[in-house]
Subunit: 451 residues, 2 copies
């Protein structure tokens, strides 16, 4: 029931497949256009099962802002066969973890369980997705929960500064609005609107089922089919319906030199300095992932070394990329006391400028490639991460890239590739979002960082 989106220094582009250490991937498309993907990992005792929906906050009109996330909460509140308590008790009773998240481009419901409990997870999550009753009283109670979630997020300035930065970059457009919505939009969402949103977006062609772990593909397909057939979900659609393809398009982000400051009585100022990046369909994403890793992806990265290790100006600092279907962002974050904001921003800007001019020397390039390679392979042991790759790859690219292919893409990044993408991305005039209790003088210095 959280909010997803950013990708830390590990690049995170790409997807898993049958290759280095990963299991066999199979895909079946059921009548009605429902895709089922599995990855078999016979060495574990668990499985993670998820259903992905091709809808996110960028599909909302201004008045509907927050509807995707609100609906995600409501689906836990009861079906024709199960109350909210019965849904959660079913998974709790076997020690399973069930949760969901909503991002700007998709929504995912998932459960991690012991392999023997996978049929139970499929039955429960499938039931939630296909047969929600959208009970009016439950929807009202959940409005309070979501308002509390918004308040909780407000109390986490290191998190919500990223929402502010999205607004800095995208303004009052779908990508610029918060996934949670606002107090006003959440208060004005009616059951009727949420129900229409549910009927419109939760049909088989918009869904991808993904499962990874100690499982059998045919058995999973059979159980998924049974769960959807019970609800009549597959027969409701035209039997020849085709799965909805990945989002396409190309969008120019024109924010340069903007500064957004949100005054808040926090101890630290939380800041994001960044610029337009590349979309997840852009071939330069591999080089940008390597560059971001070298700049702010680990303890040996430039920002960590310059800001934290040498100067002691911050505890947390990192860079990240976020790639959408048609555009992207590159940003650096730091949290520091207000008196140090100017120094920290100067270091960030200097590092970005230097990388824009010079790219990366061989040793740092090699280390960043090693870091991405190692962390990718280490990530293959987690069935949750494998399920995530399966579902996201199908929705984002309509195909699975094997781990070997992905590692090859990372290893193939050259100094010239990095220099080129550094010039394309980092040589743009940055924008800045800050949350914190700055004095007027400190606030007036912010514009120097984006001059």
């Amino acid at each position: 029931m959280s909010v997803g989106g950013r990708v830390g220094g590990n690049g995170g582009n790409g997807s898993a497949g049958s290759g280095t250490g990963a299991g066999e991937i199979r895909k079946t498309v059921l009548p009605g256009g429902l895709r089922v993907l599995t990855e078999r990992v016979p060495t574990v005792r668990s499985a993670t099962f998820g259903i992905w929906v091709h809808v996110g906050s960028r599909d909302e009109t201004p008045a509907l802002n927050g509807a995707t996330h609100y609906l995600e909460h409501v689906l836990f509140k009861g079906t024709e066969r199960r109350s909210a308590l019965e849904i959660s008790a079913a998974l709790d009773a076997v020690g399973g973890e069930m949760n969901a998240f909503t991002s700007k481009e998709f929504t995912c419901y998932y459960a991690r369980v012991l392999d023997a409990d996978l049929p139970l997870a499929i039955d429960v999550v499938g039931d939630m997705l296909t047969s929600s009753v959208l009970d009016p009283a439950e929807i009202e109670a959940e409005r309070g929960v979501i308002l509390e979630e918004i308040a909780m997020t407000e109390d986490d300035p290191g998190d919500c500064v990223h929402d502010l930065f999205a607004h800095t970059m995208f303004g009052d457009s779908p990508l610029g609005r918060p996934v949670l919505g606002t107090v006003d939009t959440v208060n004005s969402l009616t059951r009727d609107r949420i129900a229409r949103f549910y009927r419109k977006h939760y049909d088989p062609p918009h869904l991808v089922v993904a499962a990874a772990g100690n499982l059998d593909h045919d058995a999973v397909v059979h159980q998924v089919r049974a769960a959807f057939d019970r609800a009549g979900a597959l027969s409701r659609t035209d039997g020849t319906a085709e799965p909805v393809g990945p989002r396409t398009g190309m969008r120019a982000v024109r924010a340069h030199g903007r500064v957004d400051l949100s005054d808040r009585r926090t101890e630290q100022a939380h800041l994001v300095l960044g610029m337009p990046g590349v979309s997840r369909n852009d071939d330069r994403r591999w080089a940008l992932g390597v560059l971001s890793t070298a700049l702010g992806g680990g303890m040996s990265s430039r920002l960590f070394q310059e800001i934290r290790e040498k100067r002691g100006l911050a505890y947390s600092t990192y860079s990240y990329t976020s790639g959408f279907a048609d555009c992207g962002l590159f940003g650096v974050y730091a949290g520091c006391r207000p008196s140090q904001v100017a120094d920290v921003l100067k270091i960030c800007r200097d590092e970005l400028d230097q990388a824009a001019r010079q790219g990366l020397p061989d040793d740092e390039l090699k280390r960043a490639i090693g870091q991405l390679t190692g962390s990718t392979v280490l990530g293959l042991e987690d069935t949750g991460a494998l399920m995530h790759r399966l579902g996201k790859s199908e929705l984002c690219w309509g195909e699975q890239l094997s781990v070997d292919d992905m590692l090859a893409k990372i290893s193939a990044v050259t100094p010239d590739d990095v220099r080129a993408v550094a010039q394309d991305v980092l040589d743009q005039r940055p924008s800045l979002a800050v949350i914190g209790p700055l004095t007027d003088r400190q606030a007036s210095q912010l514009h120097e960082a984006v001059a």
Copy 2:
């Protein structure tokens, strides 16, 4: 570099061993009293290596408060063979994750790497532990980082309310002081004091080496021995030195009916209502773990159902136990807007009172046992979690409990056991810690919750 301590609804008592799904555990004691424990999991490609130190913030005098955590940071700043950058670059280059945490009773440094990189991890972490140079300039720079970490924690009221609650319960005693220290104590810690602390606590009898993953015990022992011998660490101690045993003792916690309110301009009020629990050596801990799971350990738990699902009063609410060597705490947390604090506290108090009188009905007991059993087995797939159990068990109990034995302890919990521990723990008068922007009227109602 984080702070550890609480245990969520999953009970978290006990330790791993050779049994259900877990690997073979072996232990070797090297000359000088250095313990090396390994768990072999041949089905994974990774390993997690850690060194545990039997020292935590409860070992600090008031003036030294924060020294354990400060030292933990300083050990990343350079050895006789490696600079700070060389330490972090070594692990980053292979995609490893290296980190550390300090709790009230111990400190742990660890790295998760691909199995082929385990010798590297042992060499680097061993070097950090045995051969830190405690460079004065690095210590000064790190002081700024720690002050930023304190500021960052202050900005996370859902976290620091637990520090406030520890002070409510333990007052100005070692367990009542924050692991991070305060701005004042951190500012007054000198290199000399930190160096003395290092020499006093970081000798082989106080250390436990723990590793889990695709490894060979004899090879790990050989590599650990080489890392410590290079620094002369094993020969510095008397060759017949014995490992330091677990902490012992029994301490009565006498806080009842106390209320601590910290006024802060947050959106939510963050509250912990709790009472003395049981120590980690107390046989009642299994029943208390089951009880805590049923009360606030999952989405089907009583607090989640009553506060969030039925009434929509909070987004996050849970119960937890924390067991120290000689005492423990039981607490429930909720974050909600100030206008709802009185309602939320009333529900919490009612639920605690009801469980104190009646224990748990059979269906909830059975579900809680299933939840603890399933989550324990699911946890065995993570080499980090296995390493954690190995090290903590050795320090806390001086022995490893097998997973089968642990599952048997959980399954053996009876309704009578739960009723007895519920009466012992929940029938005590609670205390309360709150962070948030309460009005005078809201603040005056807090005392009703602990009446």
